[in-house]
């Protein structure tokens, strides 16, 4: 079964055309699908708009979040309630085209866990959307080492087994491919998809999101490199600090040799102590990080990476 999950926030006008477009796109290809709307605390008539289409299309489902949680939580809610073994995510504002779903699913069947769409000819404003997006994608690629051209495109197809290992919170929805590789070792592919300009309303994001992206990226890079052994990373930085401490102490001792140079002895000793405290702190912090992982190991299924069977049994 195929689940198409669509987070919607104040998309009253888009819902109807969306349902039509999905039905049209899947007609003649497959019938075993469901269209799962996740209402992210809309204040307009979005819920009513979905409900009004439910009588004549029984494959529509709707869940409502208690408030506006943001796209990560809305997507996670969609994943939690999806019944399909292949799950599609799509924007609620008709910028993605459901006709691309078929190509994405076909690609997934070639042996991938996640196929992401990338918008070839974006119909967005150059300065406020396309340039930040281009810079952002370059940064994501560089930091996460996952070669994704367009991490912001919502149109993606997932295998269920992958989603069972992912947990979206905060604003991680922007980095799903990188997260999938970082925590589950997912095989990710990308194919071009169509992109339409918004037909109704205006975008629900602003340029300000760029400032939130950097900490998230650092987190992702860290999860990818040292999720399994954070102490290694913290200890490496700690040892660097301890080396500084050692070098500074040597200078302090040299200055102490020459008693006339009192000021240098005081300053250098204090500086060495700073580095020493940083080194100790980082190693202790690494130990705390390690111990937080220990409490998590009772669910092996969630912790494990995706495996591929080689050859036949």
């Amino acid at each position: 079964m195929l689940t198409i999950t669509v987070p919607v926030y104040n998309e009253e006008e888009s819902v109807g055309p969306m349902v039509d477009a999905v039905r049209e796109a899947l007609r003649g290809w497959r019938d075993d699908w469901e269209l799962l709307f996740v209402d992210d605390g809309s204040r307009d008539g979005t819920v009513g708009a979905v409900q009004s289409r439910m009588p004549d299309e029984p494959r529509i489902r709707l869940i409502r979040l208690a408030r506006n949680y943001g796209q990560s939580a809305a997507m996670q809610a969609g994943f939690d309630h999806a019944r399909g073994d292949v799950i599609v995510t799509m924007d609620g504002d008709l910028q993605n085209d459901p006709r691309d779903i078929r190509a994405l699913v076909t690609k997934l069947e070639d042996g991938f866990d996640l196929v992401a769409g990338y918008r070839e000819r974006r119909k967005d404003f150059l300065v406020s959307r396309r340039i930040p997006s281009w810079l952002g994608n370059a940064l994501v690629r560089r930091v996460t080492k996952v070669a994704i051209r367009d991490t912001g495109c919502t149109l993606k197809v997932f295998r269920r087994e992958l989603l069972e290992r992912l947990r979206l919170y905060s604003d991680l929805h922007r980095f799903i491919p990188a997260l999938a590789v970082a925590v589950a070792g997912a095989r990710v592919a990308e194919i071009p998809v169509r992109h339409h300009a918004r037909r109704f309303g205006r975008g629900n994001y602003g340029i300000s999101r760029v400032t939130k992206v950097l900490p998230d990226l650092i987190t992702l890079a860290m999860l990818r490199r040292s999720r399994e052994h954070p102490l290694q990373m913290f200890a490496a930085a700690g040892i660097a600090a301890l080396t500084f401490a050692l070098v500074t102490s040597v200078f302090a001792m040299l200055a102490a040799w020459d008693w006339a140079d009192n000021g240098s002895v005081v300053v250098l000793t204090a500086v060495a102590t700073c580095w020493l405290s940083l080194g100790g702190f980082l190693i202790l912090a690494g130990l705390i990080a390690e111990s937080s992982l220990q409490t998590d190991s009772d669910d092996r299924q969630f912790d494990g990476v995706l495996l591929r069977r080689i050859g036949s049994l």
Partner: protein, 303 residues
Amino acid sequence: MIVSERSEPFAEFYREYAEPLRAGGISFEFIFVVPASGQALLEPLIPLRASGEPIVLFESAENVGEAGLLRSVLTHCSGEVVLVLAAYRRVAASALPLLLQAIDDGADLVVARRTAAGDRAANQVQRRLVHGLVRVLVGGPFHDLGSGVRAIRREVLAELPLYGEFSRFLPLFAIREGFRVQELEVPQHSADRRTRIYSPLIYLRRLIDLLAVYFLIRFREKPLRFFGLVGGLVSLAGFFILVVLGAQRLAGKPLADRPMLLVGVLLFVLGVQGLALGLVGEIIVHAGSKGRKVYRLAPIKPE
């Protein structure tokens, strides 16, 4: 439900507050909870209970703070709606049916806001300052979290963080959890119209509580955004100082005897410590993410 640490003429308190509930035909019980060795506070209520009034009395075995007492007593209350009252009469008794009505009208939690008219100017100024700060840091529509009077659906109360000193900030957590929270203006009790100035230590404690609430509500899922900003700025300042000192060293000025070197290194080290704490926080959040619910569903009304 009344949680108290100080003595108040509880018999009078009970008679006054029970009256409008009885008049409104609402079935109710009053639960009084006092901290350890506070039993004497409740003695005036014992004859009332003996005469058949619906009063339940508890003394806690340990001092766990108001929210902790609420958590402990929750299993003993049988109502569907819990009215949490301050131990001092802060709102007029006529407010109680209004609060319950707001719950009936669909709210999950209602905060009583004492009408400002008639209150002392000093109180009003304090209240405005504090709630301005709350709004800037956390948001929410509140003007009088300190009234201590709330009506809450029982099952909602059970889902809120009932520990520590968070009882007065529960409405903020309720909003985070997606519950319908409302503020309702109600008449102030005449006994409450006195100037409230506390010791500076109390204000400091509230400020620390507010910092905890601010962090928990805004950054619980993204600690690095908070620690990263603070740590990043501090370490950048230190780094900048070190670069300037380094440049001056290259120009021939001695480096080792300058206290500024210590300031630069110290700031850098502090900043890196902040960043490292943020990263540890992210690892903890990630490790715990599997079991945590990141959203709550709302019921869907049929069309």
